[in-house]
């Protein structure tokens, strides 16, 4: 793999430009294909430039956690499948995959756009388990945002399975009941390269990135609210930079939400 010299990237970005010609706050081209996986209860394939992830939602019936006996359970997992990158290895998820799945999970969970009480079947005994599994097929950077887009699109695509009389899932008959989701929580990631801020860093830029801030936003009754933040990278951000990114994330979130809504 020919990697790009980080110093070259830094120089380009310091001139307010990017290697692939994008504007500083532009995302790469996004395509969202809902229903991409016939075997899943809900799914989406998302391309963010050359980054590609696929997300499948599956439901099962399980026991609730003892501290939330009347709520369904959300489980988000990301697998960085080794075909996606020469650096990914087989085996249990590494810290990057763990972080991605947890950041995506928090944005969805904390926004409270899904009412988990509606996913209760029998309080204290049976609830819907919602498994959101994200497979990374191609890693060209900014996996968190791609995973976030795929996860929420797949959840919007999902239909609950029917239940048989014995309380087990009837795999032959899907219901047409979707999840009621009141808002579109999304992660948007900005990076600091030198003194500049750029949106949606790709893999060629990753080595040059000093710090990263992922901001989860969602819409509620016309307002935009934040639901999660996660800083990454081995250098710090000033408070001013943080505030600037928060503002950028709010406006970029609006753009991305339209794509999800229209997907």
């Amino acid at each position: 793999m020919i990697s790009t010299d980080p110093q070259l990237i830094k120089n380009i970005v310091s001139n307010g430009e990017r290697l692939d010609g994008r504007g500083m706050y532009d995302y790469r081209k996004i395509t969202i294909e809902k229903g991409a996986v016939a075997t899943a209860d809900g799914s989406a394939r998302v391309k963010l430039g050359n980054t590609e992830v696929i997300c499948g939602v599956k439901f099962s019936v399980g026991e609730p956690f003892s501290d939330t006996p009347d709520e369904g359970v959300l489980m988000v997992a990301a697998e960085f499948v080794p075909l996606a990158s020469p650096e990914f290895e087989s085996g249990p998820p590494g810290e990057e995959a763990v972080e991605a799945s947890r950041v995506v999970d928090r944005a969805i969970r904390e926004s409270k756009v899904i009412d988990f009480k509606k996913l209760c079947i029998t309080p204290g005994e049976k609830v819907w388990m919602v498994f959101v599994d994200i497979d990374v097929l191609d890693n060209d950077g900014n996996l968190i945002d791609a995973a976030s887009l795929a996860a929420i699109a797949a959840l919007f695509d999902a239909k609950l399975p029917g239940l048989k009389e014995d309380g087990k899932i009837d795999y032959d008959n899907k219901s047409d009941q979707g999840l009621q989701i009141n808002g579109i929580p999304l992660s948007t990631t900005f990076a600091k390269v030198g003194d500049s801020i750029i949106a949606d860093p790709d893999l060629s830029e990753a080595e040059a990135v000093d710090a990263r801030l992922t901001v989860g936003t969602f819409d509620k009754d016309g307002d935009v609210l934040l639901c999660s933040m996660q800083k990454g990278g081995s250098v710090g951000l000033t408070v001013e930079e943080l505030e600037k990114i928060i503002d950028l994330a709010i406006s970029k979130g609006k753009e991305l939400r339209k794509m999800v809504a229209n997907a």
């Binding site: 793999m1 996986v37 016939a38 075997t39 899943a40 799914s43 050359n50 590609e52 696929i54 997300c55 499948g56 939602v57 599956k58 099962s60 997992a77 697998e79 499948v81 080794p82 075909l83 996606a84 990158s85 020469p86 087989s90 249990p92 498994f131 599994d133 497979d135 097929l137 191609d138 890693n139 060209d140 795999y171």
Partner: protein, 239 residues
């Protein structure tokens, strides 16, 4: 031998495949990649290598080592699957490696590893076959020198009838499933597994049906590769 044609659940003839779709170069990062679909069974394969061997002690002085990893996405099956290695995926990774191994010029790349990763995205029977088909295309796409392509499909017995490419309800009702992989130039079966009850004659008949079926798979593979070079050819025209 099934002279009177019977009705299959999904309307196919006894020796008819589900729709086949094959594409190469579907991933950006992998050195080679391919997509293969047989009805509702879908796999993607990505190849890395020849590259340095980690851990070093696996290195072979006289040839490349071939490593295969078959993995099922958690959402590929009716019930959500647990991520990670299972005994099933260990076995399939092994027979996949043995199926592909004969056609690769491993001796040309001593002290290297060729890694083939297969990701099953949708599972409706014959996932190992679809994985092998994708893997061979991905190897070719990666420019790994090969003696031939290996083509894989399965045949079996459902309600007493011997049919090609069992799928869907046939799979749950099926009595016998027999996947093969075939190396056409050498007329070699490089993968064969079977479970279910058959007579000696039925076994041989199913083997022949499956081996015969690989021809169509092979055509689909070659056509996908041709399309790649045509497109690349076109690109060359443009420049």
């Amino acid at each position: 031998m099934n002279i009177v044609e019977f009705k299959r659940i999904d309307g196919r003839k006894h020796d008819e495949f589900r729709p086949i779709e094959a594409r190469v170069g579907v991933l950006q990062k992998a050195d080679g990649s391919a997509y293969f679909r047989l009805g509702n069974t879908v796999a993607i394969a990505g190849v890395y290598g020849p590259r340095k061997v980690h851990p070093r002690h696996e290195e072979q002085l006289d040839r490349a080592i071939l490593r295969t990893r078959y993995n099922m996405a958690p959402f590929a099956t009716t019930e959500r699957g647990r991520p990670g290695y299972s005994r099933r995926s260990i076995e399939i990774s092994m027979v996949t490696r043995q199926a592909i191994n004969p056609v690769i010029f491993l001796e040309e790349f001593p002290k290297t590893a060729i890694d083939v990763h297969i990701e099953v995205l949708q599972a409706d029977a014959s996932t190992r076959c679809v994985g092998i088909n994708a893997a061979c295309l991905a190897l070719a796409d990666a420019g790994i020198p090969m003696r031939d392509l290996v083509a894989s499909c399965s045949a079996g017995k459902v309600n007493g009838n011997i049919i090609l490419d069992i799928a869907g309800k046939e799979d749950t009702e099926g009595e016998v499933d027999l996947p093969v992989a075939y190396y056409p130039k050498k007329k070699h079966v490089t993968l064969l597994q079977m479970d279910g009850i058959v007579t000696r004659e039925e076994a041989k008949e199913i083997v022949k049906l499956a081996v015969g079926g690989t021809k169509k798979i092979y055509e689909a593979q070659k056509s996908a590769l041709r399309k790649k070079y045509e497109i690349e050819g076109e690109k060359n025209d443009i420049y």
